[in-house]
Subunit: 442 residues, 4 copies
């Protein structure tokens, strides 16, 4: 890598981008980005322009020199890139909202990375992502692809299985857990080691090493006292089953509620859908407000309001990851990468989310000690769902889709699944070319 | 084993017993039973006497000599037994009905071997079964324990893990599949080999070998044409997803509907519960009618009506199993036995339901070729549920119970599970001494 | 299969063939062979003619009608065959003797299925065998290939990995063990079940089930008393380490001496090589005498002297295997077949030697209970040697050859191995076309 | 840990100790050792006093204050220790020489960590080590035990399996590899990452990450050009098989010669034994010279001659390890630690030698990508040898010893092994109380 870095952001018009800009500004001395390219599609033209103007103001405000480029021509942007950050949303927020509403209609939890919604999101996102990677193979074959587009684990698995691009998936869930633990321990992040393992949105903290001791049990006790700063701000408060958590001896990420507290989540979602709206609908309103703020020509910093958005620390993590690779920092980060034996009992070629030291050659995962049997079974089950979903998304294989969904604990099976699946594909037809065959004959 | 066999039936007052009697009569020349002991408890005194009288008439009618003994003193019966058949129902049909109703109340499928009901049944049945086996260790340590008390897989696993008794679990599901395939192939059972594998109520036919070919795909096609004689008469008609079944290349047992068609089953159960009653309630009415028939002093044969009862072929299988062991017949039967590597990916010491040749030393399982990944994941998940449930049943470990139930696909999790679990234990307290501690403190 | 069977023998001029003829004669009522084709190569013309004449006399003597055909045109023989028996020796006995002498020269045990000799034999035999199978794919795609050409496990693995032919490998080692146990138990073979498992020439008896008990410990005690009828007549007497055998709880086949008693074998081989000759040389002399006997026009039965030859019961086993397949006998036999999970810890697609029930669809292996760790490690090591050797034999891959040989416990490594390997290939160049590249450049 | 560290050296009279002193001196600012205790036994009194005097001179020379204490009372030294370094030699050099001579007498490679000699060394060393650890459980339960007594892997496994002490095993082999690679790359050690994996004296470098590339192939090419600075100075020059090494894509440690070049090593050892003496005998002469040098009251630094001793960098590594733990440095070091899934295919509770980041809580191993099948098989085999040897050493189990030795590729089996084993135990009886039973009855 040269000392004049080119960074490309796919989905540059995302409301998250100002956080990314802030991260690049803060790290400018160690991460000498000279060109930043914001790529978007026609539907995002207005947004990406607002972001671009804000970015320029932020950079100027700090007296730095980073070229900001906006384009709808992805190939132009990708040429000779060093890092490609992916944060686009295939089908926009409308797609997410549709997923949530269809799931709820059929009595299932509606969610953007899991269940029927996760399936739909994967099928919309993976074809576009693979197309980008194929362009990268041609235009910037040595660039790193940093993915934080959801469902991040499946998207990263698709890239690593079907392209030659070096990809790392990122998620803010472990970042938030680490910040929460930092607060509980009253220690800075460098002072302790949190090791997480599992799949994207299905991780547990397995170790919290601090001053020569493993503080797991202490942290669990604090969480059970109601002191739970490990949960993203976009997830409503809830209570873990006390005895279960103490016995397990691991800290579940907030998304494990979908398995441990499925009925509570279902009820909550139904209430929200009948009230303030689904999460997607709420986010849409937040986004609208955010862009109104971004437009303000007086704004020269990332606004406070962005933190409510849910994706907090995503971009922070992305910048830190770029800096760690560029400088061979060997810092421990929590990333989606090829398993290769890290979690025993999963295939070598699948993608897992694990704590790794980040080197100039990418992540070297820390070994994960064997999981308790019951959690391993859950991880294996969900990885099989993910792997079949990736296969369905790449090949348009409906039976693979069903086989995966049948395994997923938050999916209802039978006649209802056939109907929900058909509706999902039909309503997303524009974004799911791989399934056009289903409707061709008619 | 001598040539004067002593057979003991635990739960001798069961309505199934006449089928067992018929089986013993039909096999008398190869299985020289001289004493049959029907054991029951005080609540079953009337029933077991009715059965005993009918049994005597049936035997006399055929001109045979088998001593029929009735007793409430189990130790007396067990002394020097050769075979002990277990078909008792801990908590009687009332227990089953209660399980069904509690499950439905909490929005879950109510079932006697799976989900919350399966958990409850295991917790009622396993302590009694282990007590019987401890008596056998003292009174007839070399006898074979043939279990067809539900949940048969978990009960057999408990015996093999916690006692020294040689136990084999039986189920009529594979027997019915085999008879169905026989009908489709228009071939007698000896002419083809059906190999099944999985767990009790979670099996697939993996091979149907006939005249040098594997007829699996042909049988699947016939089933999908609506010609499905593989389903027990107590299971209402349903349709398998066509594409799924063809791609899988295995024949699922009828109980796999709980995983592949969960929503349809739920709706059907709710309709039944609001109509003719739950399955337990229907069975209760059938049983009442059966005993009225059994009482008839003119009855000298197993009545036709018994076949509606649902457990058809159970006793047939039990008699055939006894005859195969006694005569070292090396016949292929489908039994619950210790895994020991038969199904790859499951612990050695767990119990699986697999086709085995039956020798004088018990079952020698046929090797099971690797399962497709998705079905293996389901089997592993459910085995973990079973193993944790057995642990909970033996040790009264509530966290083990929860960890198991959380994995079970037909269980709702969260607050509702805590409540349903508490109600289940409380309502069964008489039959669940292992959980008394939960209510002791108050 | 029709009721007029065509059987082809590759290597029909082998001195073993009269035993095969006898086996076919004895089973004529259940195995209605109408045509027997003896195939050989130019070098074997005289021998195969002697055998053919003897065969005709034997059949006539019993008043049966089986067409005996001799040909050097393999394709003619293979057309529409039902069973193809392979018992040829690539490179003839001269090849075997050369293997033994080269091994000994470099200080290694010389052996036709193991070590450097096993490697050489595999490299001579596998290319010819694959060629035969390719002809079968065209001329008799549904025929069964019964292999008893050494090294039987590797040859069978090559067929199953690289062709579509249904193949089963046979060896007389388990047959001899079974007959020995029969003698110790004073029971006929049908009365007990011996279960063996491992690889060809690397098996243990894992169970000896007789009258409801496992007699393993008793048999081991008898063997240690010096009563060891389990060893082939071509293997000189030796003594197992007493404590080891008792603790292991399994009966090792005689070939395990190469691992447990390597130094004794080495010394014995060196003494023999300096005395009466290597095993190959001894066999050559025996063969010469046998053919002199076979020529005798008065001879109408398999002569007694054949039993000294070492391969006793091979052909017996082959005939029984054909009869078991043809009649779907479901008899337990000990065969080389695809692993598919039978022995845990080995790849699914490798070939293992395991007790199986023989059906019209071929062998269904009995599950093998987990091996003790140390024996499993030995089996895994040797399977890796075999798999790399097969790869080397098929592809002419010298590095694969070395990687395999380095693992083999009876091979010396380093400079000496490079030299021995080079000499082996050079001396066998006529029979090892896959390695011609090594000498092309010079 | 306090900021006044107490370090104990078991076998303080070792000729290596001056290197350790030098290491502590060089790190004094980051590793504030205030007390150093040199423990030895009566036979080592003179040596340990020489070392102690030299140590005092070295420390004084640098103007530092570290209390140097010498004692034969181990308990006194262990009380409240922070680090216990073990570098004693049970049975002294005489034991090592005896091992070498007995092995050679029976035609086997004589070696202190492998084969018959490794077995003997383990049986002498492990009982004493466990005794030390039991004292530590009482006197300094939180201290770290840093083992560099050979056979380091087996000794560490024994501690982790049979005591509660936190132990890490160290070896200079990976240190020398790393220094060699540093030289080839012309890069400082911090600039690249070498990842090794395997067992003690059985490791491969699996990755050499430098400036964003994996330099493995380049390093292998350099080694094959004869530029091999990765080999310890005590190992005579040799040549790896070119094709093998290139194909393997991993860098073998020098000790892999025992498997890849067994015959060459055997011949070399025999020549040495008949010439300048076995390695033990050579070392004995070196040691004598070293102590003559150490005695010189003018000597105030570690003498240059120590580097010839073979154990170079051992103490360097030990000091660096202490500093890394004390300061939570998270540096990558190569240590013997519990496997826990790090190398797939080995038991969780065995000890492996793997690159790990060193934290205040000890080592966190980096995940090891799956090994090629053939190397995995060798590792599994040797781990089984080690595990059985540890069992034999702890329990005096002769059959476990034999089962282990039979698997070891450098051991001859059969009658000769029985004899060699008996002689080994008899000649070491003073140091092998666990085997006294073998000679008690007579």
């Amino acid at each position: 890598m040269s000392n004049k870095l080119k960074v490309v952001v796919i989905g540059g018009g995302s409301s998250y981008t100002p956080e990314l800009i802030e991260g690049l500004i803060n790290r400018h001395s160690e991460l000498p980005v000279s060109e930043l390219w914001l790529v978007d599609i026609e539907e995002g033209r207005e947004k990406v322009n607002i972001i671009s103007e804000l970015a320029k103001r932020m950079i100027k405000h700090k007296g730095l020199h980073i070229d900001i480029n906006v384009t709808l021509d992805r190939r132009l942007a990708l040429k000779d890139a060093d890092f490609v950050c992916s944060q686009f949303r295939a089908g926009c927020l409308e797609g997410r909202i549709r997923d949530e509403r269809i799931s709820l209609k059929y009595g299932m939890i509606g969610q953007e990375t899991n269940g029927l919604g996760g399936f739909a999101n994967a099928c919309r996102t993976i074809p576009v992502t693979l197309q980008i990677c194929r362009e990268m193979e041609e235009l910037c074959p040595n660039a790193w692809f940093l993915n934080f587009t959801n469902p991040s684990g499946m998207v990263t698995e698709a890239i690593l299985k079907y392209t030659k691009i070096k990809a790392i998936g990122l998620c803010n869930v472990p970042v938030i857990m680490e910040k929460g633990i930092s607060k509980i321990l009253n220690a800075s992040e460098g002072e302790f080691i949190m090791q997480v393992a599992g799949l994207n949105h299905l991780i547990w903290a397995r170790k919290v090493l601090y001053q020569g001791d493993d503080k797991l049990d202490f942290i669990i006790s604090e969480i059970l006292k109601g002191n739970d700063p490990l949960v993203p701000s976009n997830i409503p408060p809830f209570e873990w089953p006390d005895d279960l958590l103490r016995k397990m001896g691991m800290i579940p990420c907030a998304y494990l509620r979908y398995y441990y507290m499925s009925d509570d989540i279902m009820k909550q979602e139904q209430a929200e859908a009948n009230g303030e709206g689904t999460r997607g609908e709420v986010v849409k309103a937040i986004e609208k407000r955010l862009f109104d703020i971004y437009k303000n020509p007086a704004l020269e910093e990332k606004p406070k309001e962005l933190e409510k958005r849910g994706g907090q620390y995503y971009s922070e993590a992305a910048c830190e990851l770029m800096a760690s690779i560029y400088n061979d920092k060997r810092k421990i980060m929590h990333v989606n990468t090829r398993n290769n034996g890290t979690i025993s009992g999963l295939p070598d070629d699948c993608v897992v989310e694990v704590s790794s030291i980040i080197t100039k050659n990418g992540p070297l995962p820390l070994n994960v000690e064997p999981f308790p049997d019951d959690t391993l079974r859950l991880i294996q089950l969900m990885k099989e769902f993910e792997t079949l979903t990736v296969e369905a998304a790449v090949k348009g294989d409906l039976v693979a889709a069903k086989r995966g969904l049948i395994l997923n604990p938050i999916v209802n099976t039978g006649t209802i699944l056939d109907e929900a699946l058909k509706e999902t594909v039909f309503e997303n037809l524009e974004h799911m070319p791989q399934f056009h065959w289903m409707f061709d004959a008619s």
